[in-house]
Symmetry: C2
Subunit: 486 residues, 2 copies
């Protein structure tokens, strides 16, 4: 925030300087009107004359121009905003960067069109069902009466909850629309679930590695993460979880059951059943994320843990952000016995989820468009993941390992032990590439030589980027002694 | 959630019974297709024959019908869903109702088209800028490329932040777009602010009475409310707040500075300045809600406390939900020195606010449509509030008092001391009227004989409802001894 001038001397100069700041910082942009003389006089409690003097000064400085009978405008010959910061100046210094800051930087990278996007797990913008879905939204918006734009208070849009309940038959659930609460995406569903079943200081057993967003949620809620060994293909180790539960006070478990992010692991059906029996025996709530469940590459839709839940202890969380559209911000939760608390927490978080996006998705699902869309993108993501996997094998140095997921669109890469993924992130940015360093995927920073790659944007450019990353990793070998990773 | 059958005997009957339940509960509705025989066989791990037997039974029961080469469908002669629950069965028993449950009931009332809406402070659906704004949204959706439907990560949509910064000149702020973080409505902004500046157990000084949603947020975050005397016209008493700060550990202050909900009070400029000086002297963050600031009935746009903030201690929270459109769920926060924390908490809450609604509002503002819309609704709400106020005076018993707000659209009514607002809520529901009992507006339940009325939906029907309420209040007089209010 720019402070207002305080001294009364040369008041008009200070007013001019303040308006000039607002122009330079982008509040008023070339061609836009600045506040009228009367408006500014009233608001700043200064005389009309002072404002006129200030505006004359700004005119002299070439910042604004007057248009007859219309007012003062920012001159359009000004440069259109400031240049983007240079990539190198935003590169993190690993000795000063906390994981929180690193996460926020990797997220910010995701909005930089100048970077090859191998970092944030963002679906390919070409592969979200923009066309038909957006046309449904457009039609709804054109025809919408006032009612449709009111608060869609919890449990949320009924038409959408009916479609979600229908769609849950495939992964093995018998739901009624009343079992579903809609949310603004899956991370909101998970945040609400954790708030419903835990108190600050509680311990939550999680798969490891774990999507960094969820680790940040745990940190923001002052919860402790207990990382359970997790198989790159079969997900959480149920025996290890059993041991942990028997030796620690665990207040909730949290798994990404189908195509875990970043591992791509999928818990086999029998393990899911065993997992639900375990948590049921101990009366521990299980929060289950399933955002990639529809993105299976072959066979049938994997079941969800919720399918085995007869006591209402599983809170199934999902969204349309990975397989349909991220920017609509629509997800849901099947909260079992915690429904009243979840609805109340949803209300206190933001009252309701946006109405029209929910209704558009409901109509898209009812028309069969969602299923058709899923059938087409499954094949594409399967091909992208296979091609990226081959590229990693081809271009990365000996000793590299990579997951073989059967769904989703991310790969988890284990580099040779000498390599450091944060160093690699720093080196890759000036080369125009962003990636997700392994550090972000654990509360105990144990994945120094791992990284997650997003295959969703696979292209010739992405392949070149993978080759460049392989070279950068290989170059790290000689530097190991100068930059110890511990 | 409906449990799956467990015994294997008469398996097809159990499958049929389960599908019948899903039909009765609305997961599959008349005319819709039920899962295919193959799908159900695969998912339940039962034979095709068993599924066929089950579907034949459902056909005999008249629940589904087969369509050649297409599958099984729910028969359309079924009643279209269950009837609405009768109003009298949802009426609360005051001796068993917590404020939390009462709040959720009053919210649910707001979605019941059979009730005269004097309860939740929902703007009139005829007075939200549905037409032009929705056309902008429709155009954006039709033309949208994939990028536009990606995550609009914090601080949120830039075009909207520019408009918000420009619009903040009128209430006295000098903001750059970088000072603003967009949110999913104002309550989310307030929740994020409280999480950014407080820890569980901390005390927050608030105006009293206070909008019940904010009290619920405090409860959900395990914060304690310290209620400060508040004048029905001038808002929070700064001397009383000063005394409280000097005698209690206060971790944050929270005020609805312009047209407080439910009081309609507006803190005078000099008090705002004094308030900011007070919290600055004590380094206490001030969370300022301003959702009704644009809805002034006369004179100029009231300033915000943020206009006097030179230390970044004021977190200004607002939204478009009361003056433009509720269902888009778009708000914002100007978080001052807490910006990095707010962005991080926004990310961990739900990653981002929906993209297209933000962009549509930005274009509507840039076109001047927002200002034109505000000019027209201000006059209407001023007239509605005046008419409702007169009706309360005319129809309510002697001893009733009512606020005289200069903005917003709610009235705060003090009934004679014998009256009980929860009893009135119970009596009004069967008469088809919903209102907001005073109990909801305080953590200490001190407003037993107060109620908030929403004037936004003023109509001939609403006037009749106010008259009926007046009669019901008058009838309570004789019952006082039978139903003591303490």
């Amino acid at each position: 925030m720019i402070e207002q001038p305080k001294q009364e001397a040369f008041l008009y100069e200070q007013v001019a300087s303040n308006i000039a700041d607002l122009i330079r910082q982008g509040t008023f942009r070339p061609g836009e009107r600045v506040p009228s003389v009367r408006q500014l006089s009233r608001q700043r409690k200064i005389s009309i004359t002072t404002v006129l003097q200030a505006y004359m000064l700004l005119e002299e400085q070439g910042l604004i121009e007057t248009r007859p009978q219309s007012g003062y405008y920012v001159r359009s010959r000004l440069a259109m905003g400031l240049p983007e910061p240079e990539i190198s100046t935003t590169a993190p210094d690993p000795t000063r960067v906390s994981v929180r800051e690193l996460v926020m930087m990797v997220l910010e990278d995701s909005t930089n069109p100048g970077l090859i996007q191998l970092g944030a797990a963002i679906p390919n913008p070409e592969l979200i069902a923009a066309g038909k879905l957006n046309r449904i939204l457009a039609k709804l918006a054109r025809e919408a009466k006032g009612e449709i734009n009111q608060y869609d208070i919890p449990p949320g849009n009924e038409a959408l909850r009916i479609q979600i309940a229908q769609h849950a038959v495939e992964p093995g659930c018998n739901l009624t629309p009343a079992d579903v609460v809609t949310t603004s995406g899956c991370l909101e569903a998970i945040t609400l679930s954790l708030r419903a079943v835990c108190h600050p200081g509680d311990a939550v057993a999680i798969e490891s590695p774990m999507y960094f967003g969820i680790l940040q949620v745990l940190e923001s809620l002052d919860l402790r993460a207990l990382e359970i060994p997790t198989h790159p293909r079969d997900g959480i180790s149920v025996p290890a979880l059993k041991f942990a539960i028997e030796h620690n006070p665990i207040h909730a478990c949290l798994v990404l059951s189908n195509f875990n992010n970043p591992l791509g692991s999928c818990i086999p059906d029998e393990n899911k059943q065993e997992l639900v029996e375990l948590i049921t025996d101990h009366e521990i709530p299980l929060i289950e994320g399933d955002v990639c469940g529809e993105l299976y590459f072959s066979g049938t839709r994997p079941r969800v843990c919720k399918a085995y839940d007869h006591k209402g202890l599983v809170l199934l969380c999902s969204s349309f952000s990975k397989d349909l559209v991220s920017g609509y911000r629509v997800g849901w939760i099947v909260p079992g016995r915690f429904k009243a608390t979840i609805e109340w927490l949803k209300y206190t978080t933001n009252v309701a989820t946006a109405s029209l996006p929910q209704l558009a998705i409901a109509q898209f699902m009812a028309s069969g468009g969602y299923d058709r869309h899923l059938r087409s993108i499954r094949r594409i993501y399967a091909s992208f993941v296979a091609q990226m996997s081959q590229a990693v094998m081809r271009y990365f140095p000996q000793g590299t390992r990579v997951t073989r997921p059967n769904g989703g669109f991310v790969l988890w890469v284990q580099l040779p032990d000498y390599a450091d993924s944060l160093e690699l992130y720093k080196q890759a940015l000036p080369a125009g590439i962003t990636l997700a360093p392994g550090y972000m995927f654990s509360a105990t920073q144990q994945y120094h030589n791992f990284l997650r790659l997003n295959a969703a944007w696979w292209s010739y450019e992405a392949e070149k980027a993978v080759r460049r990353l392989g070279e950068l990793v290989a170059e790290q070998e000689g530097l190991t002694e100068k930059h110890p990773t511990s």
